[in-house]
Each structure stands twice: as structure tokens, then as C-alpha cells.
């Protein structure tokens, strides 16, 4: 069944098809439409779930944690300041190994007060132990929502799927909404390893002494390390059922490229267009889309980028005092590539606070990268006029 829907509703439909059992959320622009649609599905009886209204995002995540500990498939959605308010509990969710799935609609952090997109909100939660997927299209959003539950529940890890505010969240596209029986086959009811059981009462999240804490963190890290392999298996299965797959990263016309663009989220679609034009003109320019940011797909990135002459990373985010966050992580991943295969990396900071990244902007970045001998600095800001 194909339906035209906005990105936010692609999330709602993904959650519906995943048969989530508990939803707890607090409204925030530009996320609200996700849980609004879900609340209507619950109220109308289409979705058999508990919808827990709360007074803050901190409580929303707390409610999700409580629900997830009981074994329920649990979902929430938020943005920006709301995600920041959840911060403490994001650790509780991952440390408790709870497979909660959350949609974060990327919205720049205030102040100045803003509702437009950039990725600093989700990337600020880099170290909380959540899987992170940055989606490009509404179809990918729908598919990734369902896949995230399967992946999260297989590995007992929470997962965050991330969408650009407005460019994706509020933009309509056709989405092939997979039939329920297909999704049910792909994603059966959750089975949890640990859950609250009143006949065998235990304490969850209690004091852990130094002689065991590291072992728990090690197991968390091992689970994260299993994500790429497990994701491949899950995507194989999904592809068999629906014909669609995305990968942790995607290489687009990157064969023999001298210059590779690295993008994430909706900037990728614009970059595809620019790459097509440049290829038509015979220029050896390709594209690598990074969908998965945590765990970091180090092996995939090394393989994709090694051998290119230059790499231009487009970051719609930055870490004050350092640079674009994707660029810094990619730079770190490339350190182990032998010097003769290691590309020169140009890290561009673009489109903060929702500023449009047009084909002209990307063309400018390509020209600037090709002309330069070396990057002038680690973070190259695009379009800043002072």
C-alpha cells in the first residue's frame, strides 16, 4: 500500500506496524505530529498500546524505561531541548539495556531560539550508548523504524532514528507502507531477557561496585560492536520481504572518484543531484552517505574512503572548540589507513540552524576543495558573513 505522507507520519506508521505497546512522549515542535498521529491511532483503536501523557521529556523517557523493563515494546519521539532534557535517562536506558526506539527530529539547540534543523541535538548524545540512524527519505524513515525495533531487541540496545526538521519531518513523499502480516513476520513480539517479575522480585539499576561495573560496560561495548553484522542480517531479511535496503553507509557513484563527498540526512539527496551533474561533465566525483553514526561504521568508512584523493565532509553540526562532528570522527577512523591511501580530509560546517544547503552551496564546496592545496583549518565554515 502506497501512501503520501510527511516524514513525521512515516515514523508514526512505522511504529504502528511495529505494534508498539507503550508510547510516552511530551510534545515539541517539530516532532509533535509523530505522537499526535499515534495518539489518534491509540484512541481510535487502530493501535493497541498505552499512551502515557507526561509533564516533561525527562518523565517521558522515565516512563519508557519503566515500560520497557516490563517487557513492552516502547516508543517515544522528541527534538532538541527535549532530547537534552532526557540526557540523564538516555544513560539509564542503555545501561539498563532497554531496546527503546526513539525518533529525534533534528532541531538546532537554543539559544537563539530556533525550530529549524541541525544535528547538534542528537550528536550531543553521542556517548549515551544509543544506536543512531540518520535518515534521508520518508521510505527510509518508515523502514528504519521497524528495523530499529528488531535490531534494538536483538542486542538489548536502545536506538534513535534521526530526521531533519521540516526538510524531512514536514515534507510529503510517497511511502510504501508494508502490510502488517509482512512486518509481523519480520518483527515478532518482543522477548526480553530481563524483566520485572513480581513472583521473582529483583532490583534494577541498583548499586554496582568497581569489581563489576567495567564488565557491564564491556558487554555494552560488545553489543555495540555486534550492530553492523546484525544490521546486515536484518537488512538481508527486510530486503527479501520488501526489496529495500540502505546499509550503515551507502556509496553513490564513488567508483574511481578523486573527490568524495560525505553527507548525512537530507543533504545527501541534494548531493546526489550535484554528483550526477558533475559525473555527466566527466568529473570523478562521488558520494558516501553515512546513515549510521553510532556505533561508528569504522570499517565501512575506511573501505569507502581509502584511495580517494580528497574527501569533503559536510557537517550540519559542530562541536564548539573542535569542528564538524562527522568530520572529526571520520578523520579519526582514517588514521589507521596507510598514508599512501589516506585522502586529504576537508571538514565543512554548513546549514546550521536550518540554513538551506542548495546545489550551489555543494558546488561551491566541491570547487573550493579541488582548488585548495590543503585545508586552511580543521573546520571550514561555509556561508558565514560577518
Amino acid at each position: 500500500m502506497k501512501k503520501v505522507m510527511i516524514g513525521n507520519h512515516a515514523v508514526s506508521w512505522g511504529a504502528l506496524r511495529s505494534r508498539v505497546e507503550v508510547i510516552s512522549a511530551y510534545p515539541i515542535t517539530p516532532q509533535t505530529q509523530i505522537v499526535e498521529a499515534l495518539s489518534e491511532m491509540v484512541a481510535g483503536g487502530t493501535l493497541d498500546a498505552s499512551f502515557i501523557k507526561v509533564e516533561s521529556e525527562h518523565s517521558a523517557m522515565a516512563a519508557c524505561i519503566g515500560a520497557s523493563v516490563t517487557g513492552a515494546r516502547t516508543f517515544t519521539a522528541t527534538s532538541a531541548q527535549g532530547l537534552a532534557l532526557m540526557h540523564e535517562l538516555l544513560h539509564w536506558a542503555s545501561g539498563g539495556r532497554l531496546p527503546i526506539v526513539m525518533a529525534d527530529i533534528n532541531r538546532a539547540m537554543a539559544p537563539g531560539w530556533t525550530i529549524w534543523t541541525d544535528q547538534t541535538d542528537s550528536l550531543s548524545q553521542r556517548d549515551t550508548g544509543w544506536i543512531q540512524f540518520y535518515c534521508e527519505t520518508n521510505q527510509e524513515v518508515f523502514d528504519t523504524t521497524i528495523q530499529s525495533f528488531k535490531l534494538a531487541e536483538r542486542l538489548d540496545l536502545p536506538a534513535m532514528l534521526v530526521l531533519d526538521a521540516f526538510y524531512l519531518s514536514h515534507t510529503s513523499e510517497p511511502v510504501d507502507v508494508t502490510e502488517p502480516e509482512v512486518v509481523d513476520e519480520f518483527l515478532p513480539k518482543r522477548e526480553s531477557r530481563f524483566r520485572i517479575d513480581t513472583s521473582d522480585p529483583r532490583a534494577f539499576g541498583a548499586l554496582v561496585k568497581p569489581d563489576a561495573y567495567m564488565e557491564m560496560r564491556w558487554q555494552l561495548q560488545e553489543a555495540m560492536r555486534s550492530v553492523p553484522g546484525t544490521l546486515r542480517e536484518i537488512e538481508d531479511e527486510w530486503e527479501k520481504l520488501t526489496g529495500r535496503r540502505y546499509g550503515a553507509i551507502e556509496e553513490y557513484r564513488s567508483e574511481d572518484a578523486e573527490l568524495l563527498l560525505v553527507t548525512s540526512s537530507t543533504i545527501t539527496s541534494t548531493a546526489r543531484h550535484v554528483v550526477d551533474e558533475r559525473r555527466e561533465r566527466g568529473e570523478a566525483i562521488g558520494l558516501v552517505k553515512m546513515k549510521m553514526f553510532r556505533p561508528f561504521p569504522t570499517e565501512d568508512i575506511r573501505r569507502a574512503l581509502a584511495g580517494a584523493e580528497r574527501v569533503a565532509v559536510l557537517d550540519r553540526n559542530f562541536s564548539p572548540g573542535h569542528g564538524g562532528i562527522f568530520a572529526e570522527e571520520i578523520r579519526s577512523a582514517l588514521y589507521d589507513v596507510p598514508p599512501e591511501d589516506r585522502p586529504t580530509l576537508f571538514g565543512y560546517v554548513v546549514g546550521l540552524g536550518g540554513r538551506d544547503v542548495t546545489p550551489d552551496v555543494i558546488d561551491g564546496i566541491i570547487d573550493r576543495t579541488r582548488k585548495a592545496e590543503q585545508p586552511e583549518r580543521a573546520d571550514l565554515w561555509v556561508g558565514v558573513e560577518l
Binding site: 539495556r97 541498583a206 557491564m216 555494552l220
Partner: protein, 594 residues
């Protein structure tokens, strides 16, 4: 790798299985978190303000609680323990309970009167319960079958005494029958309620005026006499002269005539003098006889002693009011009464009652035309029937808190003692006297008394006496009760939902003007139960279980018999959440070992 490196790298209990999450391997009962606390919660029920504000001393909160449990019959039973005539007070009481209701701070007070009325009517529809066993040998005579006399006799009968009520009028009821018009209190309700009091073991002898029809010596066989004759003599207005005597008449006399079925010709224009309940009853009765009615009152609406609801109803029915005016002389021409000349007044300094005294305004004279003037400026008691050795003062009998006069074994109550003149206050004085008489007789019989002091018997110390408390019983088994009113500030409003008050339904104004049919229909059974559901059960645990839900240590458990909750102090860490969340202020935090 050296052994040392291996030791550092590996956990000390190598080989043990460490789970991926922090989960205990057994129940946390091994951790007595109660050792952390220095304060602990205690369930302490307090007194709801309605109970304290009720002159009858009804456990309103208690019956609301029972209705909440679906125990409607038990609720009616509890009500009847404290009030012999709920079908009557539910209709005519000025319900100060509602003025005290904490719910007013949330939205609107609970319509307690309507719930009481419905319970009273339901009890009348059910078979009468058997009378109490006559366990006492003493006998009590009661003079007067108004609310005070009937209440005293009823409560004494429940305490096991044989009681006989003497009523001068042909039918029992006192002012309920003689003074209150039928449109406020249908006679069928009055008759059935009195029949119920008789069925409870009270003997009523009507048409017998003690001191005239039978001598006082006939009462010698009784151990105690309770005197409650009521106030039946209208105060003299001192206006008019002999010529106008037919046109100017005491309002109470008019009311008695109408209430007995008479339909006197009052002409087209009736003026009622006064601002109390008698004035309102006169005005509305005259209206029903077809007259245009004007009430002349010397103060302002604020100072009117009448029940505000009755004033409102009178206005809605079409009664006119002239405030700040006092009649001075009757005007007549050629022997024909024309009306009253009145003096404009203004409010001056407060008088002894605390109300501002009206003083004349210069040049402020005007005339109101009238065919009949009904004076309703207060009533006095006729005490001429009393034996000469009974002491009276200012036309009243002085009594103790429990109704005992210095001429014991003579007790008194109702309008003949110094207290507000309302049905509820009369019922309350009858109950107090019943307790006083029981104590008096037991003391005289040399029986040990383990009764609480009177303050303990009264709701919150200064409300009226609870008959249930007097027999050491609490029909709803309150937990560690503290005899203090719970204030709104002591409660937690955040768990209450707003809900509009159910308003009584009325006969339309068109329907009432020519008939004496009951004006107020009250609430349906369903509406009354919904209204009872609005009760917040102030100060009393109603098993809402919020404490149990909020306790982070799961230290609160429900008792198997449903009588309440226990706090497991081994695990309560004294956080105080239960006390903070309790909507009713029924949990307090106390210092451990103090």
C-alpha cells in the same frame, strides 16, 4: 601477560557470571531501607469541616464515604443515627455544612442537603427498622413535638429509654407543621418522618397541653422532663391601633392558619414586616393566595436573617422588597385601612448583635398601600404553662451544655434555650439533652461512666455531639482519629477533578403562584449519588490508595479486611511522599520515637 597484569585486567572473582545490567540476584528485602529514616508516616483521620459545621452533629463525611463504597443503605443508617428526620432537614435546613465545605476552594461546595434529602427519602421508602430494646427502667417525658422534642425522645429511645412526648396541638411536629409552609415541607413527608420516630420507640400524645389539659403532677412518674415548647408568640409590632387590628396581624398566626389548610382573604396587597424566615414564609404564602406582596425590612439584604436560598426563591416568585425602611404608623381613611407609613433608614453603629443599627433618615417618609400587614419581627416563647418553681430568664430557660436546667430533673432545648432558632439547632439541642439525660440518670443510678468528655463527643470539639461517638462507635472505623478540622491548606488538591455541582430542580414560577405544591424537587437518586461522589472525604482515608501507589519503597500494604493500610517501617525510609500526596490530609509525618 604476567600474572600481575592478568589480575589487574580481570575481575577479582574470575569465572563468575556478571549480568549485562545491574540486577540484584535476589529480592531487595535484604536491604532494610527503613534504617535511613528519621521521620515516619502515620495515618491520622481528621474531622471534615461539614461535620463540624452541622448544628445537628451529623457525620456527613461518614455517610458520603459509605455511599462512595456503594453502601447506600448503611449510609442512610449512619445518617439516621445522628438525625431523626433527614427527609425534613434535607428540605428545610439552611445547611451551614455547605458553607463549611472545603470543596468550595476547588469549585463549588457539595450539595449536601440534596444528598441528605435523597437518603432520607430512601429510608422512608424502606421498611422501618425495629425499635431499640428498652434496656433502661427510667422514663422520660418530653414536652413539645417539634424538632428538639422529637430529637431528644428519639435519641433517648435509641439509648433504651421509654419516652413519651406531649404535644398541645392536634398533630405532632411543632413548628415544622405549624410554621413551615407545605411548599417547603410536604405534609406527607412530615407525617411519615414522625411515624418513623414513633416506630423507633417514641410514644407521642397529641392534643394534650401540660399544665392545662393534664396537670404537671401527671408527669411525676417520669424521671426526667425535657421541655421544648417552641416560640409561638409573635412579637408585637406596636403599629396600628384598634381599628386596624384585623388588617395588621402577626405573621406566625397567619402561617398557622394557612398551614392548617385555611385560605384567608388577605386582599390584593400584602405587606410583610421583617427579614427572617417567618417573613419569607408569610410573603410566599400570601403570594400563593393571589396577593401582590412587598417585604419591608429595616436593614439591607446582607443583614437579613432568613435563609439566603429562601430569599432568592421569594424574589424569583415575585415578592418585592423594600430595604432600609421601617413602618411607623398605620394610615386609614374613614375607617378604611390604606397602608403603612414608613420611615427611610440608614445603617449606623453596630448594635449588641454586631449588626449595624438602622437609624432614621430625615425627611425620608413614604407610604406603602396594603390590604393586610403581616408582622414577622420575631417570636417569643409562652412560658406560662411552666410550674412556678422553674426558673426562667428573659423568656428563656437557662441550660448547661447538655441541656440541664438548674431546675433539674428538668432539661430544655429548642427555641426556649439561648441558641440560634433553626430546625438544625433544635435537633442538635435535643440530641445534646438526650446525652445529658442519659448521663444524669446513670450518675443518679450510681453507674460508672466511661464516657468521653463533652469536647470529645463534639465534632472537632465545638461542633455538635455525635450519637455514635457517645456509644464509642465509629461506623466507618477511622484510623487514629484526631478531633480537629482538616483545612483546605492541609489537603492536596492536585488529585481532584473539577466537577460541577448538581443544582436542585424547581417547579416553574408559573406553576407555583397558585398552589402550595412542593417547590423544590431536589435531585434524582442518580444525581444525588453523583453529587455524593463529589465529596472529597476531607481528612479521612477513603482507601484511594495513592499512598500505596506513590510509595517508592513499596512499604505500604493494604490490609486484607479493607480497613486501611499498614506501613512496613522496616522499609519506609521516611521520604514523606505518601503524606504529601494524600489528597485528604489523612497522613502525617512524625518524628520517630517521639
Amino acid at each position: 601477560m604476567s600474572d600481575r597484569e592478568r589480575d589487574v585486567a580481570k575481575p577479582r572473582d574470575a569465572g563468575r557470571e556478571i549480568p549485562p545490567i545491574a540486577i540484584s540476584d535476589r529480592s531487595t528485602l535484604v536491604n532494610p531501607t527503613g534504617s535511613w529514616k528519621y521521620i515516619e508516616p502515620r495515618y491520622e483521620d481528621r474531622v471534615a469541616p461539614c461535620n463540624a459545621g452541622c448544628p445537628v452533629g451529623i457525620d456527613i463525611e461518614g455517610y458520603m464515604y459509605l455511599i462512595g463504597l456503594g453502601k447506600v443503605e448503611e449510609a442512610a443508617e449512619l445518617l439516621l443515627r445522628e438525625n431523626p428526620m433527614p427527609a425534613i432537614t434535607g428540605r428545610v435546613c439552611h445547611h451551614p455544612c455547605e458553607d463549611a465545605c472545603n470543596r468550595a476552594s476547588l469549585d463549588e461546595p457539595v450539595a449536601i442537603h440534596a444528598v441528605e434529602r435523597r437518603l432520607g427519602d430512601m429510608a422512608l421508602a424502606a421498611p422501618a427498622p425495629p425499635p431499640a430494646e428498652k434496656s433502661r427502667s427510667e422514663r422520660v417525658a418530653v414536652i413539645g413535638s417539634g424538632p428538639a422534642g422529637l430529637a431528644c425522645a428519639y435519641h433517648l429511645a435509641r439509648l433504651g429509654y421509654a419516652t413519651t412526648v406531649y404535644e398541645a396541638a392536634p398533630e405532632a411536629g411543632g413548628m415544622l407543621r405549624l410554621g413551615i409552609p407545605e411548599y417547603r415541607l410536604p405534609r406527607v413527608i412530615l407525617d411519615r418522618q414522625i411515624a418513623r420516630i414513633e416506630a423507633a420507640g417514641v410514644e407521642i400524645r397529641t392534643g394534650v397541653r401540660v399544665g392545662r389539659d393534664v396537670p404537671w403532677s401527671e408527669l411525676d412518674g417520669f424521671d426526667v422532663v425535657f421541655v421544648a415548647p417552641g416560640a409561638h408568640v409573635g412579637k408585637d409590632s406596636r403599629i396600628g391601633d384598634a381599628e386596624e387590628v384585623d388588617a395588621i396581624r402577626p405573621g406566625l398566626e397567619f402561617l398557622k392558619q394557612v398551614n392548617a389548610g385555611g385560605r384567608p382573604d388577605v386582599g390584593d396587597h400584602v405587606v410583610v414586616i421583617g427579614g427572617g424566615n417567618t417573613a419569607m414564609d408569610c410573603a410566599r404564602s400570601a403570594l400563593r393566595l393571589g396577593a401582590c406582596v412587598t417585604v419591608v425590612y429595616r436593614r439591607t439584604p446582607v443583614e437579613m436573617p432568613a435563609i439566603p436560598q429562601d430569599v432568592k426563591e421569594a424574589k424569583e416568585e415575585g415578592v418585592d422588597f423594600i430595604f432600609l425602611a421601617a413602618p411607623t404608623v398605620a394610615r386609614s381613611e374613614n375607617g378604611r385601612f390604606l397602608g403603612l407609613e414608613c420611615q427611610r433608614m440608614e445603617l449606623g453603629e453596630p448594635d449588641d448583635s454586631g449588626r449595624r443599627r438602622p437609624v432614621p433618615v430625615d425627611e425620608g417618609r413614604f407610604t406603602v398601600i396594603a390590604d393586610t400587614v403581616l408582622t414577622a419581627i420575631g417570636e417569643d416563647c409562652d412560658l406560662t404553662f411552666l410550674p412556678p418553681d422553674v426558673q426562667t430568664e428573659w423568656g428563656l430557660i437557662q441550660v448547661s451544655e447538655l441541656g440541664e436546667s438548674i431546675s433539674a430533673p428538668l432539661f430544655a432545648g429548642g427555641d426556649v434555650v439561648d441558641q440560634p432558632r433553626s430546625v438544625a439547632d433544635a435537633l442538635g439541642s435535643g440530641k445534646r439533652a438526650a446525652v445529658g439525660i442519659d448521663r444524669f440518670l446513670r450518675e443518679r443510678a450510681g453507674e460508672a461512666s466511661d464516657a468521653l468528655d463533652v469536647t470529645g463527643l463534639r465534632f472537632a470539639g465545638d461542633g455538635n455531639i455525635s450519637a455514635a461517638r457517645y456509644v464509642h462507635d465509629d461506623p466507618i472505623q477511622r484510623e487514629s482519629p484526631v478531633n480537629e478540622v482538616v483545612t483546605w491548606e492541609q489537603m492536596n488538591p492536585h488529585h481532584f477533578r473539577h466537577a460541577p455541582r448538581h443544582e436542585d430542580r424547581y417547579l416553574s414560577v408559573e406553576e407555583i403562584r397558585s398552589a402550595f405544591a412542593e417547590v423544590n424537587f431536589g435531585l434524582s437518586e442518580k444525581e444525588a449519588l453523583e453529587e455524593a461522589d463529589r465529596c472529597l472525604n476531607c481528612g479521612v482515608c477513603n482507601r484511594c490508595e495513592l499512598c500505596l501507589i506513590f510509595c517508592p519503597d513499596m512499604a505500604i500494604t493494604r490490609r486484607d479486611d479493607g480497613s486501611g493500610f499498614d506501613v512496613d517501617l522496616r522499609y519506609c525510609k521516611g521520604c514523606g511522599l505518601c503524606a504529601a500526596e494524600c489528597p485528604r490530609g489523612a497522613i502525617v509525618m512524625t518524628r520517630e520515637d517521639l
